[in-house]
Symmetry: none
Subunit: 401 residues, 2 copies
Amino acid sequence: MRAEIVAIGDELTSGQRLDTNSQWLSQELGNLGIAVGFHTTAADELDSLVDCLKIAADRADIVVVSGGLGPTADDLTREAFSLAFDRPLELDPESLAHIERRFASRGVTMPERNRVQAMFPAGCQVVPNPNGTAPGIDLTLERNGRTVRLFALPGVPIELKEMWTQTVKGAIGGTSAAPANLIRHYELKCFGVGESRLEEMLPDMIRRGREPQVGITVHQATITLRVTTNGKDDVECLAQAQPTLDEIRTILGPLVFGETGDELQDAVGRMLTAAGQTVACCESATAGLIALSLTESPAANASFAGGRITPSLQALSVYAGEASVGETAVVEQAASKVREEFGTDYGLAIGPIDESGAYSFAVADAKGVVSESSQTLGHPEIHRPRAAKQVLDLLRRRMMS
Amino acid sequence: MRAEIVAIGDELTSGQRLDTNSQWLSQELGNLGIAVGFHTTAADELDSLVDCLKIAADRADIVVVSGGLGPTADDLTREAFSLAFDRPLELDPESLAHIERRFASRGVTMPERNRVQAMFPAGCQVVPNPNGTAPGIDLTLERNGRTVRLFALPGVPIELKEMWTQTVKGAIGGTSAAPANLIRHYELKCFGVGESRLEEMLPDMIRRGREPQVGITVHQATITLRVTTNGKDDVECLAQAQPTLDEIRTILGPLVFGETGDELQDAVGRMLTAAGQTVACCESATAGLIALSLTESPAANASFAGGRITPSLQALSVYAGEASVGETAVVEQAASKVREEFGTDYGLAIGPIDESGAYSFAVADAKGVVSESSQTLGHPEIHRPRAAKQVLDLLRRRMMS
């Protein structure tokens, strides 16, 4: 069973508005165990709508359409359903009464143009809209020997969500071949190697068609491995995912720092809290991003004692309080200095990024100081978060050693 | 001339990630006078990708694809192009060299897996990717007697945007028929009053149907007034907007700090640069966000001398170096201390947010110290950006006084 989500509106195809309904509907369908194959967004043009409704009905078993049910001339969803599936529009007296009541309750008589909101493709069911004037469409078709069920809901998120929850969700649950089949995603967060290198370490695991499926995505140098399973409940889903999760952890070892939702600062924060230890940092390249990350992490917040921002190598040297003998040495001195000044167990420091894109960072603790250097090629907006993560990861590895 | 945007990835169809690339690309295409007819999002399945590439090529003149160009097994865009349009994949030695150089410059040998990123559908042009390993595809086809041009770019927003701006935009501009009617937005950025209060100050200006139309949006306490016009060129668009822009500036005066794309740190940075002055900051509630904002602003970067992170009132008091006589006094002392320590013209300081949600912030300069207090009801995380802006705005007003 596969679903397609169709969003309708010039404001979406023109980029004036961001479509969040489709993401929400995808998550809801996933929770019903129905995979979403496509999202389609179409402008308010009758031909386009007819076109994409036919395509959706040809390749999906469930189609959920949002938008285009208003009363104005550019609301074409009803007409598109009628033309695409050859269903003449018919007036639904009950819906008309509902719409008239809504206006009456505000002491207004219904404008004639709202009458169109009570017109429905022949043979469909009406999806009630308690919060608005536009009821939804629930149409079941036989198409190329398959049964396809199409729903149309208003684009207003509040109305769409309420109508989904009150009516459509249950209706689909009933339809669904394997009812109450859940889809669950389990994530392992990794840091320290490139995407392709990491995949080489997991031979054949990212391959399409593997059960359970493993997906890999990268965001600012943090790699997320997503194991997707489905089953009748969470216990069954987790049971299917566990062997794969265990295998990945065994292969990647310390490269895995956390699970769904974790960032490096959360992992570091948990380790600091468990050890009852604290940290301070001196930042050049990251300009406060490490301090901000540790402060915003509920796990790390209490262990962060404070920091120093030194934009230039000169400002860093002044702070480190030694004649500069190479950037790395200055950074190491700064790590010791900030640890000493704030009286913490760990002191972090990162130097500025030089013309060649090179920078050094260090961690100081009771055992001494360790430092590493790195090189950025990417866009400056990318390197700052990446550099902050490298410093946090050096601390993480230091604490594990 | 009509365009279609195709986004690829399970993380999008499953609803795990929100697709923002398609919105951005739609706006960019609109600026080129090219209407977008459809957005399509497809899962990482070869059949689905081939299917939706063919459909897009059948109904659009320009197709822009994002995602699926990574080195791993679930990156299928190249293969989908090859199958959909019957173009065997061929190795591009130049791209391979570029990818190898990127790894080499980081002192790493290229993993074999990345070799696939140098494979391209026969007869296409390569879109250079200065910030990443995945070059893009630029393929022109004859299809049903029409010429269709398809581009494939990485899903990483920063790479996609740079490749669009450096290469694709110009290529399409060349393709494009006579630049159709342009739509232009002119923004005025405001800070210091609430949205409804500001609307009261602009009687009847936000009304629907006004020409030109004025829209109002708020993001983290920064209010954006957007004047929308359309015309045959920028000169005509601006001529239509100018009287409205002037009227708004006259009414709002110093509440307006900038124009399209401006943030408070940019406005403050321009003022500091013009005056040849510098600033340093001591942050509790904002935990480095002010330092980061000033550093990331090209206009402010050179005027920022450095800062101090003091997470708690106690840490702040220790730094201020005086017995605490009420938070405001400590914050004022910290502003003077950081100004003195970094030898800057201005010193900024903000205290922690107390249990009641109250916090103080101050600006110190040669004339003395000014401070203000504020109150948050929301969660500190949400309030942090607003607090940082309040401090920058106090500096802005101090410099104007």
